[in-house]
Structures are given as C-alpha cells and as structure tokens.
Point group: C2
Chain length 164, copies 2
C-alpha cells in the first residue's frame, strides 16, 4: 500500500515541478476531459487524498481551501506539502489490521455510505494515477513531454535491501 502512495507523491511532485516550465495561461486553460484544467486537477488530487484520510478516516476537522485561494503552482506545492505532512504518518503506520475498519462517508447527496479503510486507500491510489493519466494527454497537446508514469526506475524499491 505504502509504495503506491510514495509513487503518487513522487509523480505529483514531478508534475508540480513540470508546471514551473509551463505558462500560467496554459495551466488554467480549459481542456477536454477530466476536471478540464492542469492546476485544478493537481489541487483536486491533493484535496481528495487529504479529505478522505484526515477528514474521513481520521475524523479530524479539515480545512480545505477553495481552489481560488491556492490558484498558483507555488501555492499548490505548499498545499500539497501541508496535506502530506498531516496525512503521511497514517499511511506510514498502515498495517493489515486497519483493512476492514469502517468509516462513514456523507455523499454529496447527503447519504451515509460505509466503506472499509482498505477500500478508501485503494480508491485514493487509483484516483491520483487516473487523473495523472489525463495530464499526460494534455501535456502532449501543448507540445510538452509529460512526466514519466513508470513506477519501475523511481528507486522506490531497493534491490540490494528489498525490505527498505
């Protein structure tokens, strides 16, 4: 579980650095599919991970700024770092005994839905990778090479010390 979160955090950081090489106009230009914009997609990835883990599973009071309050690359980098600091300990402390615990989500329609922690965590993994796939198409549309999506080759697994 942890390795796929670490993968997502690396890829997200790479994309935020990639954004520094693109004009703000391109980052906020409407595109087809997904959320329709580069920067709001990266904001959404951060907000959703933070909301589900700290707000949903941990039942803490979370303050998620609206996009308009963090609408620059640097502000989203800072937002991502803040959220990561708060949620990472939960991910690093993850163990199998947490898999089947239940959290209650209130949907946008006001309904209560029960989910296991294991389902929520995998939902977050897939959620980020999916949206990043969309960014990769938009990058090519503006003639830029996207961040690599390869998990292999990122140094996440130390072959000489696989337990690290």
């Amino acid at each position: 579980m942890l390795k796929l979160f670490e993968y997502n955090w690396q890829v997200r950081k790479d994309w935020l650095d990639w954004c520094d090489t693109v004009s703000e106009e391109e980052l906020l230009k409407k595109r087809t599919g997904g959320l329709g914009y580069f920067l709001p997609t990266l904001y959404h990835i951060v907000a959703v991970e933070y909301g589900w883990i700290c707000g949903g599973i941990q039942e803490k009071t979370v303050e998620i700024p609206p996009f308009e309050k963090v609408a620059s690359v640097q502000q989203i980098k800072d937002f991502s770092v803040r959220c990561h600091e708060e949620l990472a300990p939960f991910v690093y402390d993850w163990n199998d005994s947490l898999e089947d615990r239940i959290m209650i989500d209130i949907t946008d329609e006001g309904e209560r839905e029960a989910h296991t922690y294991g389902e929520v965590m995998r939902h977050l993994i897939a959620h980020e990778i999916h949206h990043i796939g969309q960014l990769s198409v938009w990058a090519r549309e503006i003639g830029k090479k996207p961040v690599t999506a390869n998990l292999i080759g990122r140094g996440l697994f130390d072959i000489n010390n696989p337990n690290l």
Copy 2:
C-alpha cells in the same frame, strides 16, 4: 495487491464493452498522447500485464500476437480473457513472501535489470490505471461519457463480509 488488479480487470472489461458503442474508425483514429489510439492502448495494457507476469516473473514462454493480429474489439476481448486466465492464478496466490523475490528483465536496449516481484506488480497496477486515464480524455473528445474510474462503488469490498 489483489484488489487493485481486480479493479483494473473490471475497468478494462467496462472499457472493452464501451468500445462496442464506438465505431471502429474512432477506435483506430490517431489521437494525442499516450499510445495515440483507443484499441492499441487496450491491447498494450493486456500484453504488458501478461508479458511481465507470465513471461517475466514466471519465466514461461509467452506468445504475444502483434496488434495487427487482434485488431478488433472482439479479438482484444478474447486476448484479454486468454491472458487473464493464465495470469490470474499467480495474482490470486500472491502473498507477502513473494514481495522481495527477484526477476531479471531484459530491456529493449538488451540490458539486464533486476526487479523485485513487488515492484513489478505495482508497476502493472499503475501502468493500467495511467493508460485508462488517457482513454477517458479521448472519450470526451469524441463526445462520449468515459467509464467511471471510481474504485469505490464497484463492489470490490463487501462491507458485510470484509474478508471476502
């Protein structure tokens, strides 16, 4: 690990069924980003999963047809089913003792690279989700609703019997 493979297999099947609602011309039309076409992307997802698990990890002799030999929705559905039948037992039998085992990959440049099984399996999970994210953009480009990427709500986790 297993749940994310099951998620990918469900989503892939949904996309292959979605392809039935789209003309072959659209499925084979060049697009921007990723592999550049709907059908070759779905073929690629199947071939990569099969190649790494059965060919790479299990060191079996695998026969992967070139895309031209399976260039229709039905043929890729059949190809996916055949590959799934052969590789699924390995995924269902997965256990933590396999995490740090080493497989040797020969890269396109002819170099030998060592990877842990755990790294390969997570690479495959991320690989499929990433490419599916690209399909979702192309779907909107042709005015079609993409298959949902949500992991929550697919019935992968039985809340009343979480151990299932």
